[in-house]
Symmetry: C2
Subunit: 369 residues, 2 copies
């Protein structure tokens, strides 16, 4: 399979574009996370967007000034800004500057902790939707029983609607992301529904069920059919496809449930002297468990379906969280993910219609998307 | 406020109609759960539906034969039966018989562990929708930080669609259920969305937002506005309203997340000798925690919007779970819930349109629904 859309300059495959501003904890945390990441990845470098006067001393403090180029941007998109306002007044912001750097191919992937709505709106405006994509999606990682520890779910909330064709696009994009982000050569895709029986669910889901099933062979993924909410953390699927409304509710419900349980667990272990002693003894084990389901380890919602890749880190991410988002960005950057995804999606329409040539596709070529 | 629809015979307010068949564990578990319930409630009695030859020895074994009347029904709706088949061939089944008993006012509330789809279809056919209800809903209980320990969420999956008027009806029904099932005189209602800002979400949600807000005062509830998935276990709301597709995915996502965490916790505590000792020391505390989030304690999806109340117990419920569903049924039966709900919903349309009389309603009369 040839890739006619390869545009990423190989010299920028190790460069990330990082918005220093907009996170809840400020630029000091972003720079600290960047320092952690750069220590782990000696070949990587970064473009850092924000007020130079603020960023310069932070870089010196962490001794990473030689590997980071500051792009001076004085304005900041605030968490409370409406996307429409951010677009209108956004030109001087660090977020805008961070997106422009990937648009101009000066960096491979853009990372921001800022306002999600504004980041999506600005990315749509400047990077444009990839050919064949009607609605971009946000893919998130979900703690699971799989060997990698994670499943991919999309759309986590880029758009509140998705029709049958969008859901097919999500399946293709999710498969490509699982290959390049999680190293799963032949991902298993499931379509989220209220039951696994074929007659269940809304009309568009039944059509999408057909479309995704038909696209599986040439899309180099395995379609496992309908899955339910309880399968999000399961090991019978790698990628779960749903509309952004349902995905957003599911994501926040999962987080909310996990928070409630941790809170109750902490309360239970602090209740009696015996249980406090127990908590002390089990400290190591519980810390490992906490790490396993730590949201900071899965930090990074990836915007899929644009002409470049943008990663949204949690607004409340600490330096561990920021470093995790940068790790993910770097993995995708080195794999040339943006171009592979674009090639996958651009050929999706012809794939779906062109069922006759299905036999020619051969086995999975994991290097093409 | 007068209640023109009171039809429940006061002599049957202590009688439950129980489908003995259709649960995964068979009638022995249902009868064992019934025995637990009857020991707790000396004034209660039950009509038990299933094959007399099987049920009679079970009742004797638990010494509850004098408080239970068997309605002989030889056929059983299987978990794998399609609702349409169950309807066609259902007449001789224990499920049908259990529903008929509340239809004929021989019992106040019907409880079944059987096939959810068949139970809903049969209940719709025989009990009919209450006046003013377009789509009935299933209300479930959700472990929460509230003093009662639970929030109500509906629809948990009776219908995959819900328009703005349905969502208003769900709000009214959910408020009435919270009053009668959880003893919350003035419930706080939230509408599930992808964000709490007014401009977010689908068009029908924005309209429902207005409708529910307008109905709050005369409906004797407090409307808190949009809530997110993370608020399902929160203490800022008592009842969460959503369509059955989203509700079903959220419910199963919450259960799946809780299961994953318990599994990982168990694994973590069995990992090292120290952690095993810790688990032993904390046994009591962990058991209390387990009880707090035990799905058997919250057993019972309540079908709302029919002319009588039907409770769906988990198919896999053990005797503790069955007894919990019967407790809930009995609470609703004694409160005359079916009639109160019918009165609430029947007057809903006029309530919504009749904004001028809003001032007359006075303060909450917790006895009317």
């Amino acid at each position: 399979m040839t890739n006619s859309q390869t545009v990423t300059d190989p010299t920028t495959a190790h460069v990330l574009s990082v918005d220093a501003m907009g996170g809840d904890k400020g630029p000091a945390t972003v720079v600290a996370g960047l320092a952690v990441f750069l220590r782990r990845q000696p070949e990587a470098s970064a473009l850092l967007h924000g007020p130079e006067s603020e960023l310069k001393p932070l870089l010196s403090k962490h001794k990473i000034a030689d590997r980071v180029t500051i792009h001076d941007a004085r304005d900041v998109v605030k968490m409370t800004d409406k996307p429409s306002n951010a677009l209108r007044q956004g030109k001087g912001t660090s977020m805008w500057s961070a997106i422009e750097a990937v648009r101009g191919d000066n960096a491979a992937v853009c990372v921001s902790c800022g306002n999600t709505g504004a980041l999506m709106a600005m990315s749509m405006l400047r990077l444009r939707k990839a050919e064949g994509v009607n609605r971009p999606a946000i893919a998130c990682l979900w703690p699971s029983r799989n060997p990698s520890g994670f499943n991919v779910m999309l759309d986590a909330g880029a758009d509140i609607r998705a029709d049958q064709d969008d859901l097919l696009t999500y399946a293709l994009m999710g498969a490509s992301y699982a290959r390049n982000g999680l190293d799963i050569a032949y991902p298993r895709i499931g379509l989220l529904n209220v039951g696994t029986e074929e007659h269940k669910g809304r009309a568009e889901l039944k059509v999408a069920h057909e479309l995704i099933g038909n696209a599986a062979e040439r899309g180099d993924f395995n379609y496992v059919g309908f899955v339910e909410g309880g399968d999000l953390p399961s090991d019978k699927v790698d990628v779960i496809v749903t509309d952004g409304f349902t995905g957003n509710v599911a994501l926040k419900t999962g987080e909310g449930t996990a928070n409630l349980i941790s809170e109750l667990l902490r309360g239970a272990l602090m209740k009696t002297p015996l249980s406090m002693l127990a908590a002390l003894l089990a400290r190591g084990s519980l810390r490992r468990l906490g790490k396993r389901i730590d949201p900071r380890r899965v930090n990074g919602g990836v915007f899929l379906g644009l002409n470049h890749t943008v990663i949204k880190s949690h607004g409340s991410a600490d330096e561990t969280g920021v470093a995790a988002a940068l790790d993910l960005a770097y993995q995708l950057a080195r794999n040339g993910f943006s171009d592979k995804l674009a090639a996958r999606v651009a050929s999706a329409a012809s794939l779906a219609q062109d069922a006759h040539q299905e036999g020619d596709a051969g086995t999975s070529d994991t290097n093409t998307g």
